[in-house]
Symmetry: C2
Subunit: 423 residues, 2 copies
């Protein structure tokens, strides 16, 4: 078989062509293929029409070394992937007795007979290897075809992902001759995509001429920017030699705005800082309405350092739950630095947590004024080392304003706990 | 031109083939095409290679009445969409003087000369109509080709969406002869996808033979199931005549498990119930860590009925913030119905809100036991009319367990406030 350099991914299922569904499997598959040194050349979504799938699959075979198809392996007439792939590859299908046996056993464990329709799932193109599915009835297929490779996997992510990791990835890595894609990530908060690009521009030519050469990708989402440095290398050591130095250079250029040098999000970074220090955190949230606590508690084991939180959306609740003086709200408004400070101090005092956060703002779409437009958010963080209170503005609608507010507050905690100034 | 029944969407750009980027434009376009009575037959993402795009575009032209291409209209050599489309359609490109003028003026407004590279954006295939771009330099193109239609739009959503709405959608609706797609949605919580299918099965044949015929789609996500009923009709009245009756039949078959008959989510449905009754809600959350409050406050204007919430992740916080007796936790464990009840009662008493919710559970991955496996969640809701406490289990990992828990709690509130039994 030729070296697997380029892959295409074809997702099958009419439901993926509606406005409310998206093919996320291809992202999972892409990241795993990239890790094995294989890049994705194109991807497609097709419905349940056999003729359409046959055209799209044949097109992918014209370009790619490897075609991964997902979905359409169920037991019903709508599930055409097996039949179409066999037909395009010019192979006949035969019933695999061990699959039938496995299906029967699976149904028997639930005290049910195997419906006749499921026999379709035991059809295998001649010469294909069956990939077992521990979490469903549809087996996967691995088909080496001339010097190309075709892999079929079921659509549900909870079936697909473990199958890819257990049965596909190890085979691909064995075939790749050891060349894999290695990456470093530098995660930035506090400056936009173009300012990140500007900061790293002086390094770009030396990175591009490194051996192996470094490929740079910059992705911006929800107020944060991720800088990816990628190389294809024969070993971790070859990759590390160039990547670690480049990542150091990027971090030096981006300075205090770098919050993470791994896939870890700001909630994990702050969690680790708290855990290391033996501190606990508590938050009083108004406009973010619990999302900051929700984000902190996304992390398994966060109960070790998340003390508690209060969502005080109403003025009354700000007073009742964290003791904000109603006179302060009258004097400065609920969205004001003094109220944010009182919220941070109040939650800290009431809970005994070392770190207290107060957030109050106008997420919109209503509630703005010329003085305090929609997107205005006041933050206060108090730790045993000191307190910081800031006002920030963001745009982009209610959801984005709230997401950026959560990141901003957690990033303030990071900067304070690592002795960095808070701009 | 033939009636536009089927469309394909092709997104162009190598960045869309990385693991962290997804083509969301196609969802926006799909929902607008559907509204114009046009369905999407397949979609594709290709990189910046002209030969690949030519193959994929030619394939789409073989199947679809309308092909929408997005991206690759910038000024650089990587931007190949214009050239490839012209070549596949067999049309020459000429420079459009009015586009050049517009680009010059755009740069002049910022005091800059137009870079020479941007002249590429003024290239137009013979016979194409130029679609102005109010938010960027890349104009769109509308190309009627024989009895087919090809539309090119820039990739950035803030350019694409207004261009689609201003220049594409009105033309499509004029061409569709007034036929549009109309939908009804019935949203269900408390039974799985296959049980929804079973419940509506008796109606399927009469729906399919209605005039116009009703097409049914069932989508399951995060523990909830959405049933879509769609028809292509010449008027709202024609559609309503069959859709409203079918929706009534679906609701009758699905009973109390229907929580919404519109796009409104459970947080909006509960919000409306609270607002109508003049009640306020407060929650004490443990395993959901603020996500329930975050969901309730996703709704603009929710401050009218969201009183406040407390995230009491630690046992200590459960006692300090909502007054749960530590002896109760010792006797029954933090994840238990008595503790959930004490949390609901405690938050209600401390805040004076009419509706109190308590949630305590094991989101995982750690913390489970044979008696209380990961995914066990105890819920308690108290309203002025009474109290309900339940234990439920779900699987699928920490994120899914937490999302389902939020929906479960809000759905309990809905059932109680509408006089329905809570199973």
């Amino acid at each position: 078989m030729r070296p697997l350099e380029w892959a295409e991914i074809v997702a099958v299922g009419s439901e993926l062509l509606t406005p409310s569904r998206i093919d996320t499997n291809s992202l999972t598959i892409t990241s795993r293929l990239n890790a094995a040194g294989i890049r994705v050349r194109a991807k497609a979504v097709v419905g349940d029409r056999a003729a359409d799938l046959a055209q799209v699959f044949a097109g992918a075979l014209r370009r790619a070394d490897l075609v991964v198809l997902t979905g359409g392996l169920g037991p019903t007439d709508d599930d055409v992937t097996r039949e179409v792939v066999a037909q395009v590859l010019g192979r006949t299908l035969h019933e695999d007795a061990s699959i039938v046996e496995g299906l029967r056993a699976r149904f028997a464990r639930r005290g049910l007979p195997m419906p006749d329709a499921n026999r379709r799932q035991a059809l295998v193109p001649v010469g294909a290897t069956v990939l077992p599915n521990a979490n469903g009835t549809a087996p996967g297929l691995w088909i080496e075809h001339g010097d190309q490779l075709v892999v079929l996997l079921p659509g549900p992510p909870r079936e697909l992902v473990p199958m890819f990791d257990t049965h596909v990835q190890p085979r691909l890595e064995a075939m790749s001759g050891g060349v894999r894609l290695y990456s470093r990530i530098v995660r930035v908060f506090g400056r936009g995509e173009s300012h990140v690009e500007e900061a790293i521009r002086p390094h770009l030519s030396s990175w591009a001429s490194a051996s192996p050469p470094i490929e740079v990708t910059i992705l911006a989402a929800r107020g944060a920017v991720d800088l990816y440095l990628n190389v294809a290398a024969a070993s971790e050591a070859d990759a590390a030699a160039v990547l670690d130095r480049a990542a150091d250079e990027a971090v030096a250029s981006l300075g205090d705005d770098v919050y993470s040098r791994s896939e870890q999000g700001i909630e994990e970074i702050v969690g680790t800082l708290l855990r290391d220090r033996g501190w606990r955190i508590a938050a009083a949230e108004s406009c973010t309405g619990g999302l900051l606590m929700g984000r902190l508690t996304d992390v398994p084991g966060s109960s070790a350092y998340v003390h508690s939180g209060v969502v005080c959306y109403s003025n009354e609740a700000k007073s009742a739950l964290v003791g904000v003086d109603p006179a302060l709200i009258d004097a400065h408004g609920a969205v004001s630095e003094p109220v944010a400070t009182a919220m941070a101090d109040g939650i800290r005092q009431r809970t005994g947590a070392e770190v207290g956060i107060g957030i109050t703002g106008i997420a919109g779409p209503g509630g703005g004024s010329p003085q305090k437009p929609v997107g205005t958010v006041c933050y206060s963080v108090r730790t045993p080392d000191g307190a910081v209170t800031r006002t920030r503005w963001s745009t982009g609608g209610r959801e984005l304003v709230r997401a950026i507010a959560v990141h901003t507050a957690l990033d303030m905690v990071r900067r304070m706990m690592t002795g960095r100034p808070v701009p």
